[in-house]
Structure formats: C-alpha cells, structure tokens
C-alpha cells in the first residue's frame, strides 16, 4: 500500500470515529406527558411538574426484592411521568463512596447505616430533605426513627424499610410437646433455659460466622442485652462514644450475654460447645430448633427466610419467634432493629418528589402488599402484611411503649462497627475474657 493510501486510510478512520461520536449525542426524548388527569391517578395529583424527568436510585437491595421495589412505585411513575432508574448492588457501601468521590453520585440512595448517612452529610455530599419530605416523614415516623436520619439537627434521610432484631426463635410445636412456656420476662427466660438444660437439651443455639462480616450476630446480642441491662440512655452514649467502649456498664451487659453464649450448659444446641458458635454460619445457627436439638435462637425477623422449604413458620407451626424479654418491664419495651433511609445527593424537584412519595403510608402499604417487607411507618396497615412474623414485628414497631434503637455497630465508625467490634466479639466467643476484649475495641476507636 502506498504512503498516500495509508494517509487516506488513517484520515477515514478518524472521520468514522468523529461521526460515530456525533451520533452518540442524539437520544430519544422520554415521554413528556403524565397521566395525572386519569381517575386511577387521583392519589398522585400532588406530584405535578415532574413528567419526563429521570431519578436514579442506588441501593443494597437486589434480585427478587429489587423487582418488588420497582413494582411498588410503578403506578406512581406511570401517573406522574417520572422515570425511576433503579440499581441494586451487593457492594453498595464501598461502591457508593467510590461513585460519590468520583462525582457520579445517584440522585437517591437507600442507606442501611445511619453512620454512612452521617459520613456523607458531614462531608457536605447530601442535600437536606425538602420541606414536603420532612413534613411527610414527621407525620409517618416516630422521633426514634427520625433521629437516625438527622445530622446536626437537619433531616437528611427519610426512613424506608425496617427489620426487628429483638426476637427469639423457637418451635411452637416442640414447646407444646414438652410443655414449655414462652417467657415474657428475662428471669422467666433464664428459668426456662435451666429447665430445658436439665431435660438433656442444650437450650440455646447460635452461629456468628458470616464471611468477612463474621461476628455481627454477636454484636447484635451485646446491643440487645445492653438496651435491657442498662437502658437506652447508656446505649446512646455508647454508640456516640460519649462513654468509653469498655465502660463498666458495657462490661456488665457483655457478661450477661456471656451467661448464655459462653455457658457450656446452654450452648451450642445441635453444634457442640461454646467455640462452635464462632464457626457456625449465622444462616444455620437456628436450624437445630426444628430438629429438637435446640430450643431458643436469638435472631432478627429476617431469619424467617432461612428456614428450610416446607417449614411452617406460624404461631402454632414448626418455627416462630417471641419478643426478646425486657429485664425490667418498668423501663419500657426495648427494641433493637435496622432499616434503610432515603438520602438525596441532588435536590431537583423530581428527586424531592420521589423522596417524599417513598415516605408516604400509601407507598408503604403498597409495598407491604407485595410481601417480604415491613416498615416503621405509622400508616402501615398490619392487614397488608402477610407473613405472621412480620405482623408481630409491625405490632412491635407501632407499639407506643416500644423504645426503638438502631443496630449500634451501624452507628459506629467503620473501623469499629465493621472491624474491631466484629472481630473482638468473635475472639470473645473463642475464649478471650471480657475486659481484654472491650479494652482492645476501645483502643481501636479512631482518634
């Protein structure tokens, strides 16, 4: 090929590249009309002016659950004309930080950790909730929940879904056969444990193995018991590090947990001794209950999904859960749980509209009807919840006597909440004493 031809070839290549780049510039315009004038859209007439706009949502919720989410706001999107682009990721926390730092933040994110929300808020990455969102959130959620979406007095995240962790799983069928009674106080629970142990069955089973998050079920135990042992005030000071992690009151709660989890007479039903807790997967931790080798398993409401197919999860079935009893009923009804918060990285009208809608009881009820989901939204009708355990959870969340506190490790710095606390409790289960463990976790708190 001659030099002249080579030059022509290079030139034509460059031209082709330029042409295709130009072609990329044009795109289909989204449907600019909504359907707010139609009768079935009467509920959405408050959301005018957002037709043809796009809102991106990023969240840790994936697969089937993500499909249900998209189904839940489909009517809203059709009526208002807004387009919601949803993306779920299994590495949500790490990737969200990468995207925010890279200037590619989503419009809305469903944050499962208040600590993460605070991280972004204090970094000036989040937009404060708009007036309508704030009003809707304050109408539908209790102050206990709102404070976790609030940083320095400003609401950034409206609560979304919820789960309750203060549950003890048991087998109603087995309890009936053995004539065991569901305890309603801490002392009753301990007396029951002794009775079960005397009958030759280890009463408790637990598993804290969870890949690189090994230890989190143990931290949940500490948090749940601390709420009961010392109350919500001490709990709040602890998660804010207003008292040291190794405060004597924390040691007291930890030792109370140890009276169960490090008690060879009580654990580990179906798996062996205390140390087997460290290497038993949390998904398998409670399964011996339906085999009659264990009687009690403390785990969140979401454990309902872990039972084998065919298991009857109901009040008189193979497996069910009762509320983890308070120690002193006079101090109220402590509830440990988790959930998500809808936080906004942008404040365009359409973004605020979606954030507001997700805080309505209308949306909450619509989502609950699709199953496998509950919320602390006061307007959520328990009749829209199908799963029996979820009904109980909603009842707990809506009980005025409930004192709700968010999972503590989700409120602490990552180095502690996703690091030394998990690892420390794993070592504690594995034999390390309480003082050494708590001292080490305290020493690792970021300066």
């Amino acid at each position: 090929m001659s030099t002249r031809h080579r030059r022509l070839l290079a030139l034509s290549g460059a031209v082709a590249l330029a042409l295709s780049a130009a072609a990329c510039g044009s795109s289909d315009k989204p449907d600019a009309t909504g359907n707010l004038d139609k009768p079935e859209c009467a509920a959405y007439t408050d959301y005018t002016g957002i037709a043809g706009k796009t809102v991106t949502i990023y969240s840790p919720i994936r697969d089937a659950e993500a499909g249900l989410l998209e189904e839940s706001w489909k009517a809203f999107a059709n009526c208002t004309g807004v387009k919601i682009e949803y993306e779920g990721s299994g590495e949500f926390e790490a990737q969200l930080k990468v995207r925010v730092e890279g200037g590619n933040a989503p419009d809305l994110a469903f944050l499962p950790q208040p600590g993460l929300l605070e991280f972004f808020a204090k970094g000036s990455k989040l937009k404060a909730a708009g007036d309508k969102t704030k009003a809707m959130a304050e109408k539908n959620f209790s102050p206990d929940w709102l404070k976790y979406g609030t940083v320095d007095g400003t609401l950034y995240g409206a609560p979304l879904g919820a789960n309750v962790k203060s549950f003890v799983w048991y087998s109603p069928k087995t309890f009936k056969e053995k004539n065991w009674t569901v305890p309603t106080t801490w002392d009753e629970m301990i007396a029951l444990s002794d009775k079960i142990a005397a009958s030759g069955v280890k009463p408790w089973c637990a598993g804290i193995e969870s890949g690189d998050a090994t230890g989190w079920p143990a931290t949940d135990w500490i948090e749940d018991v601390l709420l009961r042992d010392q109350g919500a005030d001490v709990y709040d000071q602890w998660v804010k590090h207003a008292i040291p992690f190794n405060d004597p009151r924390i040691a007291s709660a930890t030792d109370r947990v140890g009276s169960i989890l490090k008690n060879e007479k009580y654990v580990n039903g179906g798996y062996g001794g205390v140390k087997s807790i460290a290497t038993t997967a949390f998904q398998e931790g409670g399964l011996p209950i339906i085999e009659g080798k264990c009687a009690l398993h403390r785990q969140a409401s979401f454990y309902a999904n872990q039972w084998p197919k065919g298991t009857n999860v109901s009040a008189d079935g193979d497996a069910f859960a009762f509320y983890f009893p308070a120690i002193d009923p006079a101090k109220g009804k402590p509830v440990l749980g988790g959930g998500e918060f809808v936080a906004a990285f942008t404040d365009r009208p359409e973004v605020q509209a979606v954030q507001t809608y997700l805080a309505t009881s209308d949306w909450a009820n619509g989502r609950a009807k699709l199953k496998n989901w509950i919320s602390a939204n006061k307007g959520l009708d328990v009749n829209n919840v199908e799963n029996p355990i979820d009904k109980v959870a909603v009842g707990i969340l809506q009980d005025p006597k409930s004192v709700f506190r968010f999972d503590g490790s989700d409120l602490m710095p990552a180095a502690v909440g996703a690091g030394s606390f998990w690892k420390g409790m794993t070592e504690w289960i594995n034999g390390k004493d309480t003082k050494t463990t708590l001292d080490a976790i305290e020493a690792s708190w970021p300066k």
């Binding site: 070839l9 295709s20 990329c24 790490a94 290497t279």
Partner: protein, 339 residues
Amino acid sequence: MDFDFTAESPKLMMLLYGVVAFAAVVGLLLLVLDVLPSRKDRWVALGLLFPAGALLTVGLIVPAVRTLILSFMNADSTKFVGFDNFVWMFTDKTSGMLPDFSSDPVSYGVLLSTVMWVLLVPSVSTAIGLVYAVLVDRARLESFAKSLIFMPMAISFVGAGIIWKFIYAYRQEGEDQIGLLNQVVVALGGTPQQWLLDGPWNTLFLIAVLVWIQAGFAMVILSAAIKAIPADIVEAARIDGVTPWQMFWRVTIPSIRPALVVVMVTISIGTLKVFDIVRTMTGGQFGTSVVANEMYNYSFRFDEKGKGAALAVLLFVLVAPIVIYQIRVMRRRRLEGSR
C-alpha cells in the same frame, strides 16, 4: 434473564469506540513512523514501546506513587502525618501486626502469620513438586500423574478456598461429619476438631491450600528442568556407580538449581500477596489474617486510607528484595550464557 441488547448498547458502543480509538492511534503511529527519515529501527522501537510504557505508567507507576503519598497522610488524606502510619503498624497493639504473647489465647500477629506463609508455601510446594517430578519422570502414565497435581493451578484461589472449607467442616461428635478431614479422623477413632479455629494450626491448614495449588506449578517447571539435564552427565554418573540418592543430590539438584530459584522466588512473591484464601475461608478471623487482607480492610472497609496505603507500601517493601534478587539471578544467568 434475556440479554437485552438495547440496554447494553451504551457499553457495546463504548467498547466499539475503544477498539476504533486503539486502531486509530496505532494507525497514526505507523503513519508517523513511516515518514521519519533516518534510524528507522530506533524510532519504530520507541514508537511501539510508547503505548506499553504509557499503560504501565498509568496503571502501575502512578498508583504506586499515589499510594506512597497516601501512606504519609491521615485517614481521610487531609493532613500530612509523617511516619505515623508506619509507627502505628509496629507499636500499636490494635493494628494486630505484632505477636502478643501476654494475651490469652496467644495472638501471633499478622506479620508472623505472613512470615509463616512465606517460609512454608514456597519450600513445601517446591519440595513436593520436585519429589513428584523425580518420581514420575519417564514413568508409565507420567502425563496422567502430572495432570492430577497440576489441575489445582486452574482453580481460582476463591474456588480452592471454598473446596477446602468443606474439607475442614466440623460437626460435633456423634453427628454425621460432612467435612472430609473430620470424617477420616472419626473413622480412625478420633474426635472431630474445628481445624480453622485455633492458631497456629489454623494458619497451617490455610497454608496447605496454597501448597496444594502451587505444587503443580513447581512440578511442571522442575520436571521440564529435569528433562533438560544432558544425558551424557547422567550416563557418566551411572557409569561411576552412583546410588539413586546420590544421583538426586549430586547431579539432579545442582543441574536444576536455576529452575529451583525461579520456582521458589515466583511462589514467594505470590504468597506475600495471598488474600483470597484467607478472606474466603476465615475472613481473617481467629488470628489468620495476613498483610494483604488487612490492607484491604483498612483501605476499603475501615475508612483508614493512610493505614491501608502504609500496609500496601509494607507489602511492596517485603516483595521488592525478592524481585531484585530474581532480576540479578536472571542477569547473571544471561551473562554466563553469553560467555
């Protein structure tokens, strides 16, 4: 679910642009080189080296420099802190880097664990590979025997971790054992154990996994080296009446020494960076963590960029001498060859 071309078209277009851009750059490069008048070979060499050099700079050198800078800064990279991150590494108990013999149970520390890996994996892998190579050399079914030990090389570290996690699985005494190792132990009259729980044995059980993977690599290299030993040397030794033992230590080993060095060095470098097996099998719990695992944790999970970068620098400092040694050996080899 069905593959949706329209949904994926932006990515496909991006891929197309990348290919077209690459072709355009190479074409342009060739065009320019063709025009240059003198010392064409030199310019062609420089021209073709440029893309590789550019990619190496962007993908390796720039990140390395950036990491070095970050290692002297605080958690969110807003303040210069000198050597604080390195001091933390070697003096702060919470870093978990150094052994703590006063704690109960004893904490061997991340550095000691990593040292155990680096001492044991190369030596044991090479030893097993060498013995295996010698034993099956010119034996019937040699190819089949070799493939058995080499196949683990094809498995990802994560896959190997999962396989061996099942092998080590524990169920209490009296239950059916699903872990192969415990099943064997029980069948022989023993008591099932939680192999991954107590150190330093748990680290050794993880090390066994990497040995299983790397022994095949060692075997292949060493087998090739053994076959390359000149036949006349072997014949001369036989005529002199050496025993098989003497043949091994006085003829085979000296002859394949360069290959032994290459194998040991290569496996050492890989071992220093071990991460997947630890993360998959224990998550770094129970005193099994290694430097690479802690680097990942501090950089991406604990929001401690400074400490994470310092650990990366430490890893580089540990690997560098081995690489330098490898380069010097290869250079000396080339000089000897040209003599």
